[in-house]
């Protein structure tokens, strides 16, 4: 199940774990990425709070937690090579995985069709 937020993040849920990243639109807007900061494995995230930082040459952007839960895995390869997020933001450029406090929380988010229509 693929969902999107109005902050241009995507989530892919399998069971009670969701993989989170920034959308292709967000990556294009940011331009060349030079630094990624991810939450620590085991960290508790609260929906709406800053969870990660993605920096381009020009500016730093906060990536917000789209749902509440516990971080189970982070993409070390993205930290090592920020350009990998830019080149495949909705695939190999995933940022972190989170065990959802409430698996139904994704139901409130936009599906692919809704995000495609969402003003950018």
């Amino acid at each position: 199940m693929l969902r999107f937020t109005d902050e241009h993040e995507w989530l892919a849920r399998e069971g009670d774990v969701a993989t989170v990243g920034i959308t292709t639109h967000a990556a294009e807007q940011l331009g060349d990425l030079v630094f990624i900061e991810l939450p620590k494995v085991g960290a508790r995230l609260v929906k709406g709070e800053a969870a990660a930082v993605v920096e381009s040459v020009k500016a730093a952007s906060d990536v917000y937690a789209p749902v509440s839960g516990e971080v189970t895995e982070v993409n070390d390869a993205a930290v090592a090579d920020p350009s990998s997020v830019g080149s495949d933001p909705q695939g190999a450029g995933w940022l972190y995985r989170i065990r959802l406090d409430d698996p139904s929380a994704l139901d409130d988010l936009m599906d692919e069709a809704a995000y495609a229509a969402f003003p950018k």
Partner: protein
């Protein structure tokens, strides 16, 4: 874009080349083109980048007596530089000062035979024009030149421009020449804001697009936006007025005392006689209490303008501030400039910058971060 945003003569060209336009100093300016900031920056250091800097102010001073010495003498009442000694066909960097010795703007002054031409920052050009008029109108007619300004920068700039005018190869750094380019009379200086060799080219507005297309016909020349212009100048250790220098900084602490020649200093034939002279001459003699330095990070996180600096990782009050910071594509690492107390300005000194609530270690670095490519001889 706000409805009253101004356009440069190259606006249509930018759009044709896929520029992302942003508002800057009241103008719609290209921040980048489809290749992106990193490639544009690296291309400029490897070959030749073409920048539209038409938003900057080009202000001509015409002596009412017809004698340029009168205009030069008058301009020396506002700038702590040697204008009387400036030779025809040469240009100088100077600081426009206020009464406390703070910096109103930084600019270039060119000797163009029977006039002086100043190039000033876009954000300050309206205030600069008013200031010049208020102080010089008795001696000089002041004209804002309705011209475009293009910058061609990089090790390939001379070869690219020489295809249009072979005589540019004979120009040295800070030379000024009137040269025919692509059928247009252009005012050309060998200077720039990237740390690389290069030229700034002033042409009538209606000739700008033709000149740009003529330069872009050379595959080594690519359009570069304001985003890369900023990372290039930061790596070159060059100040941005409004960030690294402003009304609250004096030339000495900013590391720009070199622009004040001996003739305007204590003991010089034309000592003082400019705004803030007492404070600046005293600072030149005594040395500053704080100084602008380059800083690199120990980690990968960039440290941006506004970040406070501390001497220690845990305790203590802020001792300084980052005034420019970002990522240096040629270094593949973050770079920054800021002010620190003089005792902490030796290269290799370790300080800490507060970023997102944490103190990150930084190290004082000499400036520039990347060696300059100016053609001095």
């Amino acid at each position: 874009m706000p409805f009253d945003t101004l356009r440069t003569p190259l606006h249509a060209l930018h759009l044709r080349h896929g520029a992302r336009m942003v508002p800057f100093a009241g103008y719609a300016m290209p921040v980048q083109y489809p290749e992106g900031l990193l490639r544009e920056h690296l291309h400029t250091r490897a070959q030749a980048g073409l920048f539209d800097v038409s938003h900057m102010g080009q202000i001509q001073l015409i002596p009412r007596t017809g004698n340029l010495v009168d205009a030069a003498r008058a301009l020396e009442t506002l700038l702590p530089i040697d204008v009387l000694g400036l030779q025809p066909g040469r240009q100088r960097y100077g600081l426009l000062l206020d009464e406390t010795g703070g910096i109103r703007d930084d600019l270039m002054v060119a000797h163009c035979g029977d006039t002086l031409v100043l190039v000033v920052n876009a954000a300050n050009k309206v205030a600069d024009e008013a200031y010049l008029r208020a102080h010089l109108t008795g001696i000089c007619e002041i004209a804002v030149l309705p011209r475009a300004l293009l910058a061609l920068q990089g090790p390939g700039a001379e070869t690219a421009l020489a295809r249009l005018a072979p005589e540019v190869a004979a120009m040295r750094f800070m030379d000024v020449r009137t040269i025919e380019l692509a059928g247009t009379s252009a005012l050309v200086t060998r200077s720039g804001y990237t740390g690389e060799d290069g030229f700034e080219i002033s042409v009538p507005e209606d000739r700008a697009e033709g000149l740009a297309e003529a330069l872009l016909a050379d595959v080594s020349v690519r359009l570069v936006g304001l985003g890369a212009r900023d990372s290039l100048r930061l790596e070159a250790g060059l100040c941005l007025h409004g960030a690294d220098i402003d009304a609250g900084t004096d030339p000495v602490e900013a590391g720009l005392g070199w622009s004040i020649p001996a003739v305007r200093r204590r003991g010089g034939a034309r000592e003082g006689g400019f705004p803030g002279a007492a404070a600046i001459l005293a600072a030149l003699a005594a040395g500053p209490t704080r100084r602008r330095v380059g800083l690199r990070t120990e980690g990968a996180a960039p440290v941006r303008a506004g970040a406070l600096l501390f001497a220690e990782e845990a305790a203590g009050d802020a001792i300084g501030r980052i005034t420019s910071g970002g990522f240096g594509p040629s270094l593949q690492a973050p770079v920054a400039m800021g002010y620190l107390p003089v005792a902490l300005t030796e290269p290799g000194t370790r300080v800490f910058a507060e970023v997102r609530g944490r103190r990150l270690p930084m190290v004082v670095n000499g400036l520039p971060f990347v060696p300059a490519g100016f053609k001095r001889a």
